[in-house]
Symmetry: D3
Subunit: 171 residues, 6 copies
């Protein structure tokens, strides 16, 4: 039976931290399915189709990795794909606590699906999709922060943004 | 003088974790008043009247427990009810830090009112009102997560929700 | 070369905790520039001009301290002012994690600008701008929480607020 | 039935942080029994008899507070004294995690005994028995750190210590 | 190529929390090797041979699990056994921070070996080898805390201990 | 008045993480004095003279940095050297909590001496003196972990150690 892992997230957009977790997971499992959440409570910068396409371009050299949109219960998506593992990347203590609660809730809903945590590379500890969007909005340097395809997409997205969408601020 | 404790929260809706804290508190104090915050900054799923009613139904066998709506300062509500204790349940470190700051602020405002922390049962560590709402929205299994009355109310609430309100996603 | 430090924040409004950090920084550096974020993602209670004016009044006896509005990249603002230091106050573990990520991101963008952390006084550990606004909204006692000018401004602001803006609740 | 609380610890020696928790507890419960651990894995500075005596002197004005040595299981001590509450003071997140595990273990052993957590005063957040011993050893100022009786005992203890016991260092 | 995982620890003694992690890992990997640290800096209660034997008895029904003593570098042990995965169980934030540093150090030493973290069951969050030893020493109830073989061994070990080894105290 | 900072620690031995903090501090202050604790409660691997010499060799190109042994109160050492700043490097939340308590204690003892925290480089997050000693003991690769002089000294130290000192284990 192939060993299949689900890597869920909103990936709005994917960062080099995500790409690092995907590469590690692709070496450990027969198949990795990136589950891109279709509808987020907050308005995403990229549509789910754009986010899936950027991940597919980023992972095109990893033959056992695919990206798909998903909605509904994550554990149902995992079971529907024959996966018994959910992969999450950890950066910090605050990540850990939230992920701990989600993993316990998912275990309650589906005891046969196990959540495994991978450590993000130390180089990517400070990376998050929201920090990356903020730097892009302020025309900061994206080198080494996101995959090339994502950098291009971020530049295009913010070049198109009306001024009032550019008025937020790095906290 | 009776020993009265206030247990404040938004309870949108009450979970089995809340019910566990209430049962523990009811054994320690002569009287426990559940203070249900009337107006929350975020739009609640249940009105304050619904939330109070669900708590009353949940606690109907604990004769020293009542539930009431409240607004204004929590320490004023405590003093107005002759309570010298505020009860809070703790699940995790992030809870602890926020509650620590609230408790120090309330002590500044009312040095005569003490905040006491109870440990939630280990079985309920992953429970929160928002996770419960999310599972209900996705038609997941609510068994062992919420009191029976709350499960019924959640099912009714989400059956009535228009489609666009169901489009959010378990993160 | 003078030793210049930037102290960034939204200061909506400044608290005695902020004032404590500013006083400590003013003793360590030749010049301290308080960088008041112009546009926050959430709607501020005070305009950036009001926030700058309140800080200037609060710091009028510290001759090496100024307050200015800013937008754009914080590290650009620092470099533009010849500052090689960003000052941040720490209260709690959750502060620390967020600030840790911001400091690593800023170091990536500008390795020549160092972030230094100061410990807030123990008396101010529970203070935050949002708790202060909440207490003001509920007509609670602001003594020892905010500088006098801020207390006056908060009272004026909430006296003018229509009723529906007063309906939120201390969590 | 009187409401009895146990406040356990090693109290080697009691600090003003402990005294603050005791005073708060004495206002909430009919009777507070300070349970002074007889044998600690590390060599204590004060014998259990000295530690009990210092607490008795510190609490002599609180008529509902007593101090006693104890060994064995804490929950057995609580039950033997008719107490259904164990009181613990919290200062920091690291305290919280350890106390969380101990409280869950004690609940497993004795579900009828509840652990309640009190917040230490902000003024005493940095206080611990080991920091106090270190300051005493280096002849630092103990004012506002320990009860008067403890300050006298610490001075006497370190005046008698041979030089080699004084050679450790504040980290 | 079989998928082999190493589960390292001192297991002095194994608890039901360890057994839970082993059972989860045995369902995810072709083979699980429990690596029992031979020499610990602190004096262990059970010899490494005893600890290995207790784990073998505990895991006798899991045909893909073995237990072995180890010393030296963990990453060398992993490579020597053809394992590309190290498994660790997480209970709490303090675990997480220590394990985070160890995982980053091991990744520096052996980038081809990945550390994966599993969540301990909520029922076992309060369990640790040291708490279990403490409860055994005080003749407390070990039911549901340790595998049967470990309970027998703990009872035998403490029945044989001279009195002075029984004099420590539950903190 | 020159701006002098004290960087205290046991440095047993100095790592590249320490060297990184020293280099950052040397760019911010007129003079940096590394205060090497003479007597630690645990037996150090290197004598204080060795530790000072290794730091001096490591910092020989930073003309405003010196290393000195110290004992007694850190705030007295700071005042005796005309320093108003103590520098500490932060890696993780557990560091932060301990350092927070020490900084508050030192502020109580000497309000005129301020503790400033620097963020360790992300590359050095997993580094600690004890992990480095452990890797050296097991003959692991020290490249990029410690300054060259320290690597030589560690190799020499462990080549000389009798076997029984080599029997500890990487946890």
């Amino acid at each position: 039976m192939p060993n299949i892992a689900i890597y869920p997230g909103s990936f709005d957009p994917a960062t080099n931290g995500h790409a690092d977790v995907i590469a590690r997971a692709s070496r450990l499992f027969d198949r990795v399915i990136i589950a891109v959440g279709r509808n987020s409570q907050k308005q995403p910068l990229f549509s789910v189709e754009e986010r899936v396409a950027l991940l597919q371009e980023t992972c095109q050299n990893m033959t056992n990795v695919t990206a798909e949109p998903f909605d509904g219960m994550l554990v149902d998506f995992a079971r529907g794909n024959g996966a018994k593992v959910i992969i999450k990347g950890l950066r910090a203590v605050s990540d850990f606590e939230y992920e701990f609660q989600m993993a316990l809730a998912n275990r309650h809903l589906a005891p046969d699906v196990e959540t495994l945590f991978l450590m993000t590379s130390a180089h990517h500890l400070y990376l998050s999709s929201s920090i990356v969007k903020e730097i892009a909005r302020l025309n900061g340097d994206l080198t080494a922060l996101v995959p090339d395809a994502v950098a291009v997409a971020l530049r295009a997205k913010f070049a198109l943004q009306p001024d009032e969408l550019r008025s937020e601020r790095l906290p």
